[in-house]
């Protein structure tokens, strides 16, 4: 850069050089390409149309299209407002949160938890957890690469690239079947060099919504054992695939049972509706507690030069919900209990306060609050999938929309082409990312019919009204 600058200077006359000296240091900085996901929201916000729809970012909305704020979170924040806390309390709360996070992923009764065989640190939501791992991977396996599914969340590519870990992709999505390309996936896993690092979505794959079955996960896990690959899971949607937190952790439990020492990034942005607070966790399974302590210290050191320590507010909110009796009461009113077994647990929990004071209680309650609030959110999304599919079929769309209900989680990979996505935005004020990914959380009972007719228009007919597709199986 400096050589270029000196060369430029020599070629100029005195007056232009004087002018040039006052030029910006930043002339060579080009505008960055817009983030593909955020760009959708920006375009949406700029659109004055009253019936516009945002199907871009994966943030949950209720049926009025409004962001959800759990009342108990609001109350918790009231109580923690301007609390005098010492640094020691923060560390203790953070450790507690890490432990509860680990239980969600590995299971309440997992040996890994009991024996403390995991290195866990609180992270800046899912992104921060992935980035910490990517930096850690680079530091301790400087020659390694990361294998990512094709497609994957676009920011995964940015994260490992900025951490300077080379990226390879493996087959995942089959555009013809709009399902999993399992054969090609297994081939890629087999052909990768032994000991490769793989990024896996344990449930509700983003952006496709296509997840392997339990049997397929078992086969993947077995092959990983043979190849000695390192499985790294990005768990951003626990609870959003099936509505059941435990069910959604199946893939990870399968790998755990097979003895893999996995890594896992977790986000609480979606399942606690705490998006802006950036609460998440990174955990790595270890041989023993000693190694766990060493690895944790290294992770903290990596974090210390990126942001120091994680922000406390979100962490405190979750912790408060679990420990304050008044807020528990509000949460209790707010939450619908679906399972009779959970109902029994409620009664025993609240009538035996003195007996149940240990970690197990807090863990169960944590599970309860998330799973019950979560069930509402997951159910609404599932209902919207069915409604959208029905609406498209009723309009006489010749295309196969079965994948909408086959796919799981927040997202639907619609198969729409970039041109069709463009038309949807320009003509119909419906916004989504160019890969045709629809955030189902942005679909409501009020806009689903409009959305279906918009999609039907751009897929059944081209701009001159000619039919684009023939009826297919």
């Amino acid at each position: 850069m400096m050589i270029m600058w000196r060369y430029l200077r020599r070629g100029m006359s005195t007056s232009t050089r004087v002018r040039a000296l006052r030029r910006s240091w930043w002339d060579h900085v080009t505008p960055a390409p817009k983030d593909p996901i955020n760009a959708v929201t920006e375009a949406f916000l700029a659109d004055p149309c009253p019936y516009k729809i945002n199907l871009g970012v994966g943030a949950y909305r209720d049926d009025d299209g409004k962001p959800v704020v759990l009342q108990c979170v609001r109350e918790a924040e009231g109580k923690i407002a301007a609390t005098n806390f010492l640094e020691s309390t923060c560390a203790a709360i953070s450790s507690k949160l890490v432990e509860e996070s680990a239980k969600l992923v590995y299971g309440e009764d997992s040996d890994v938890i009991k024996e403390g065989r995991f290195a866990g640190v609180q992270a800046l939501s899912g992104t921060g957890a992935c980035r910490l791992f990517a930096e850690f991977q680079r530091r301790f396996y400087p020659d390694s690469r990361i294998y990512m599914p094709d497609p994957t969340w676009s920011n995964h590519h940015n994260i490992w690239r900025d951490a300077q870990v080379p990226i390879r992709t493996f087959h995942y999505y089959h555009p013809d079947s709009k399902g999993l390309n399992f054969v090609a996936l297994m081939d890629d896993v087999k052909n990768a060099p032994n000991g490769s690092f793989f990024l896996l979505h344990p449930c509700a794959h983003n952006p496709t919504g296509v997840d392997p079955s339990d049997e397929q996960w078992q086969e993947i896990s077995s092959l990983f054992k043979v190849k000695n690959h390192f499985p790294f899971f990005d768990m951003a949607y626990q609870g959003f695939a099936s509505g059941d937190l435990e069910r959604d952790a199946r893939a990870i439990r399968i790998f755990l049972d097979d003895g893999h020492l996995i890594g896992c990034a977790q986000s609480f942005a979606k399942n606690m509706a705490l998006y802006g607070h950036r609460v998440g966790c990174l955990s790595l399974l270890c041989d023993d507690k000693i190694q766990a302590v060493a690895i944790k210290s290294q992770l903290q050191q990596i974090a210390s030069t990126i942001y120091g320590s994680p922000p406390i507010h979100g962490m405190l909110a979750v912790s408060k919900i679990l420990s304050d009796p008044d807020i528990k009461a509000i949460w209790l009113k707010e939450v619908k209990v679906y399972f009779s077994s959970f109902s029994f647990l409620f009664h025993s929990l609240f009538t035996s306060i003195f007996i149940i004071t240990c970690i197990r209680t807090i863990g169960l309650m944590h599970l309860l609050i998330i799973s019950t609030c979560y069930k509402d959110m997951a159910t609404r999304v599932q209902r919207m999938r069915a409604t959208l599919k029905e609406a498209l079929e009723k309009l006489g769309s010749p295309l196969n929309w079965q994948p909408i209900t086959n796919q799981v989680g927040m997202f639907c990979f619609s198969g729409l082409t970039p041109d069709e996505v463009d038309r949807l935005a320009k003509e119909f004020h419906v916004y989504m990312t160019y890969d045709g990914r629809i955030s189902m959380a942005g679909v409501t009972t009020k806009n689903v019919d409009y959305l279906a007719s918009a999609i039907h228009e751009v897929t059944a007919f081209d701009q001159d009204g000619k039919i684009l597709h023939t009826v297919c199986a």
Partner: protein
Amino acid sequence: MASSLLSLASASPSASLSSHGISKGKLNLGNTSLCFNKEKTNPFIKTKSFGRISMVITSNVSRFEGITMAPPDPILGVSEAFKADNHELKLNLGVGAYRTEELQPYVLNVVKKADKLLLERGENREYLPIEGLAAFNKVTAELLFGADNPVIKQQRVATVQGLSGTGSLRLAAALIERYFPGAKVLISSPTWGNHKNIFNDARVPWSEYRYYDPKTVGLDFEGMIADIKAAPEGSFILLHGCAHNPTGIDPTPEQWGIIADVIQEKNHIPFFDIAYQGFASGSLDTDAASVRMFVARGMEVIAAQSYSKNLGLYAERIGAINVVCSSPDAASRVKSQLKRIARPMYSNPPVHGARIVANVVGDPALFKEWNVEMEMMAGRIKNVRQKLFDSLSSKDKSGKDWSFVLKQIGMFSFTGLNKAQCDNMTNKWHVYMTKDGRISLAGLSLAKCEYLADAIIDSYHNVG
């Protein structure tokens, strides 16, 4: 097969790690080059050697077997040691966190009020944009440069919310690494310990300029100027805007002028770290004078801010990175690239701290109140300095000049004590401080000044 395994065991340390893998049943020789061939040059991995191979097959060995414990953070480690100490007279002068006279953490009244306002409004917790809360970005730039500053009016400042000072510095470091590859950052000797770590991890080369003069316990101004002059043209010069950490020694306004001259002459870029705006003099405006002087000269400037200390928002992680450019177009491009750096670090910054700052700084009544609280906090530290100086001067009969305690500015004081003397402070007197001789006056009460004076005098005179 067995013989090849045995021969591996007797080879170099790199191979012995893989034999460990084999002994635990992995039988995967293909692993070795991928995993362990760099550990000789990698300072993070310790090599192991194994006496004999055991053929016991067990479950998977961790991939991270060779990872050693990271060294404890020198500053935070002090607090941990302090906590472990049960002595009744113990004193924590380690981390720069403001404490009241009763040595309790202090939540500012304006923060309490702002928190209440936020609750009443019931704001949602949606993702902020990558660059952070717009209201925060506006007020933070105005606080630093002055609301009427032409650079703000002309939209020549790229401001992005960052995770306190650390996060903001890291964004700037990544920008330097990407757009000025090979350019060096010059940091003061000494400086905040984490500066070096941040630039190392961001892969930005750095070197030091002389700053602290142990003989005078003051500024080595000639050394500083000489080193800045000697740096390759177009270097980044990291400057503490006010209340230098760890020394407490700030240049005078005249000296700042000369520093600006030299930086302009050598076509360097000034890079300010402002973590204590308000804590130096008690006035938010006065403490921004150095940055404003550079900007007024038409220089392009990078400035990192933190609200950890001056609003007590340590745990919320709220700060900002500002890049003053010569045109609004450059500012907009730079901002877009800062966002591109932030997205794969954490996607978007945490919302709570930003809202608090936006409310406090953006509301005239709250802002006025903040100014008063700021003066009170800085005032307490000035009083403590005076009391400490008085205690030292009256108790110490050697005639040593303790006036540096009064001359130094901000939360910290560089006592001039060496490592052995600092150890004595801790071991004998239960006074916890960092080993470079720095004490945090924010952690000192008037009541404890005499005790501290005794400790310092004893350590200085009686320990090598």
